[in-house]
Amino acid sequence: MARDAKEAALVLHRFGLGPRAGSIDAIASDPSAAILAELDRPGAGQIATPDLPTSGTANRAVFEFTAERNAMQQRQRRETAQAALENPGKENSMEAKAEAPAKPEEVPLPRQLFLNEARARIDAALTAEIGFVERLVWFWSNHFCVNQDKTVMAGAYEREAIRPHVLGRFSDMLLAAEGHPAMLIYLDNAQSIGPNSVAGINRDKGLNENLAREILELHTLGVRTVYTQDDVTNFAKVLTGWTILPTVSNPDHGGEFVYLRRAHEPGEQSVVGKTYPDAGTEQGRAVLEDLARHPATAKHVATKMACHFIADDPPPALVDRLTQRFLDTDGDLKEMATALIASPEAWEPEQSKIKRPSEWIVAALRATGLSGDIARITGGMALLGQPLWRPPAPKGFSDDNAAWLDGLAQRLDIANTFAQRVGEKLDAEAVADTALGPLASAETRRAIANAESKPQALTFLLMAPEFQRR
């Protein structure tokens, strides 16, 4: 029982999002069964989002918002100029500014959409029993990342392309991600035009290889594996025509996926040793289906998963096992997750990985039972180097400890601020029981007990190695 309580705590940190009140006890009788049961829950990975717009709706709303704002600014400029004409010598603009009543700052629509999506994501993380499925969502969302700075659809993208397939087939997620407008915009495929297509000839425009390259390098086969520059170029040609409807001329469907035959490079293409006849979108679909089943992809994905959950330098036996599972099950991601939990390496007591900032922040909220202010949560993530849906590159946020270690001092600043805000009302020793239970070292317990103030005690808990690591 004692050992199981410790394993329960470990599993909650390593594969979940950290214990909530009572979590450790609740799963202590069989931590392994409890975490696997989360995969079997109906609707696992989905979140109820009746109030959140689809990516297309969000895109159109922001388009209208921006257009109206621009028009308003334009009109103000005209009125100012007109007033200056009518009353020369009088500095109307200054007076107008001084007299204008201070309006409470309204949150601009794009920001509000982002905050709503972020809130839904964080709520899903806070309400999950263990959080393994949410961790898988985060993992795959990072694998197939897009960037909020380039498209307002980043939050909706995760719900539309990642969540439905997080316990499904890799090939389905691959298709959903690469064909999603957010990805087509993020990696520039929306503006890639076949040089010999009608549009290419008429407009003298050409290929953009970005998406094709990142699919091969980051999403499927892996860098320096079995593909060449020709494969990249040919694959880019295959993907021409995968674009979005212009919002300005499509009030009902602007921003949604469209296959534009006029921009598609005609002819068959050879990608990674196989020739694909030109069959419209089917050509791209066929390439993606094959890439999804390639052994290099299996190895790449298995390695990445093991790195994320287990160790920077994962045991080769574990990677081999996960790779084989991927190949045996036609890339069944639920089977992959199950194989991971069933691996002996998953239960090593040493907490070798440092939590990513988002994991740590959510763990802190779960431990204290707070839901947090969403702007502060996303602000904290940004401060710690993991701004939500804004990865530094298509590769996503790093999974190496080295990337996050230097942020430890910033974590201390955040923990200190958080503890100043909430620590006075919390019993840090009780929070330690909730969050660490038998994982808490004697030294950590002592530091908490001897703290000079309640906020300081909470700071020590949040900064303790066994809370920072998983």
């Binding site: 430890l408 201390l412 100043q420 006075e424």
Partner: protein, 418 residues
């Protein structure tokens, strides 16, 4: 600083937006005696070493007690003389100036009724005003507002308490509405927190320890062998990454803002804030080092209050109190452990100051409380009751019954006010 105050608002609303400085307003008009008193309580959390702030340099046992790391009259930075027997830490020139001007009073060998040594329980007794720690959810300063005489100095209308900080200190929580203000910048990570965390990491996670050491700029010192030096060997003072400069700024901003609010004609009249970081177990650094830095920051906060109070300074009393003092002797790390009696510092133009009030218990082993701590000879509640009664005109019986229950033996200290 806003010049118009919101109507007394539900505390929850304000606290929800965060709060760090707690104030009780005793506004404006009709001060029956033509005075408009201001009162600010500053809680120093962690247990302030009173002997390091106000040293009994005239006590023949003092120099022996802490050898050369204690304040004396004849070192490079001599303690600032107060009354021939006591001297003030040289990090506090502003307090010294006020003392000389009759605007600061020190009460020594003072303690709350709490005689154990737990921070949380000690702070609970200090701020609740109750004789025992436990379940209090109101503080003496808030309850004192109800004890203020109708038609007295403190106006009854719109009475509210003022608090600085995201969390209202217990001392000012209670039935009277609390208006809270959060400084734009919260307190930086204290050196104490950093050093304790570093100690935890050194015992549990060498990788984390290395990263944190880099932050506090200790890596070079550690490489030079300073970290492994023999006990007692001179070590450079910690230059925290957060830095004492940030602490100074924060202390001055928080206290200065409190003063601005209290100085407003229609503002609150009673407030509280808390400063952490006084738990000096290791390398206390009273003369130069950590405690000296903190005391310097506190001195700057007092100066900021005086400045921002403006003319209201003459109607102001600030009390600086802590949950307990520290051991009379140093421990094995040139620090001090949790103790009992300490000092209470009072500053403000309304005081009849320039005095150290102490029934000095002595420092011989037999004189110490449990042979280790400065023995309490004064009850902090007597000091506070004296100020509340004479400054705010709080009703003495209600002070007894509701503000500091079971404190009959601690008679209000006479003559603190001018």
């Amino acid at each position: 600083m806003p010049t118009i105050f919101p109507a007394p608002t539900r505390r929850a609303l304000l606290v929800g937006s965060g709060a760090l400085f707690a104030w009780a307003s005793v506004p404006s008009t009709a001060r029956a005696e033509g005075r408009d008193p201001r009162f600010l309580a500053i809680v120093l959390r962690g247990g302030l070493d009173g002997l390091a702030v106000v040293a009994p340099v005239g006590d023949p046992d003092w120099a022996k007690l802490r050898s050369d790391k204690s304040l004396t009259a004849d070192v490079a930075t001599p303690a600032l003389p107060l009354d021939g027997f006591f001297a003030l830490n040289p990090a506090m020139p502003n307090l010294h100036r006020l003392y000389q001007a009759g605007q600061a009073t020190i009460v020594h060998a003072v303690a709350t009724p709490y005689r154990e040594r737990s921070h949380f329980d000690g702070q609970d007794v200090l701020e609740s005003g109750l004789p025992k720690p436990g379940t209090a959810d109101t503080g003496w300063l808030n309850r004192a507002l109800a004890a203020v005489e109708p038609g007295g100095r403190v106006d009854q209308r719109g009475r509210q308490a003022f608090a600085v900080g995201p969390i209202t200190p217990l001392v000012v929580r209670g039935p009277a509405p609390v208006l809270s203000w959060v400084p734009p910048r919260l307190a930086p990570v204290s050196d104490d927190t950093t050093m304790r965390l570093l100690d935890l990491y050194r015992h549990t996670d060498p990788t984390f320890a290395r990263v944190l050491e880099e932050r506090v700029g200790l890596a070079a010192i550690a490489k030079a062998g300073g970290m492994n030096s023999a006990p007692g060997e001179e070590r450079p003072p910690v230059q925290g990454g957060g830095g004492i400069a940030q602490v100074r700024t924060y202390f001055a901003e928080a206290a200065g803002a409190a003063a601005k609010f209290l100085a407003e004609p229609e503002g609150p009249r009673v407030g509280a804030l808390a400063f952490d970081g006084w738990d000096t177990h290791v390398d206390e650094g009273a003369v130069k080092g950590r405690l000296a830095n903190l005391l310097g920051a506190l001195d700057g906060a007092i100066a900021a209050i005086e400045t921002n109070m403006g003319n209201a300074w003459h109607e102001t009393v600030v009390v600086l109190v802590t949950e307990f003092g520290r051991t009379a002797r140093f421990n094995g790390n040139d620090g001090t452990d949790h103790g009992t009696a300490t000092v209470a510092l009072l500053a403000g133009g309304a005081l009849q100051g320039g005095r150290v009030i102490a029934d000095w218990p002595g420092l011989k082993e037999a004189d110490l409380y449990e042979k280790r701590d400065l023995k309490p000879t004064a009850d902090l509640r007597a000091v506070l009751k004296g100020v509340l009664r004479d400054h705010l005109r709080a009703d003495e019986r209600r002070l007894e019954a509701a503000v500091f229950p079971d404190s009959a033996a601690a008679k209000p200290l006479q003559g603190l006010l001018a």
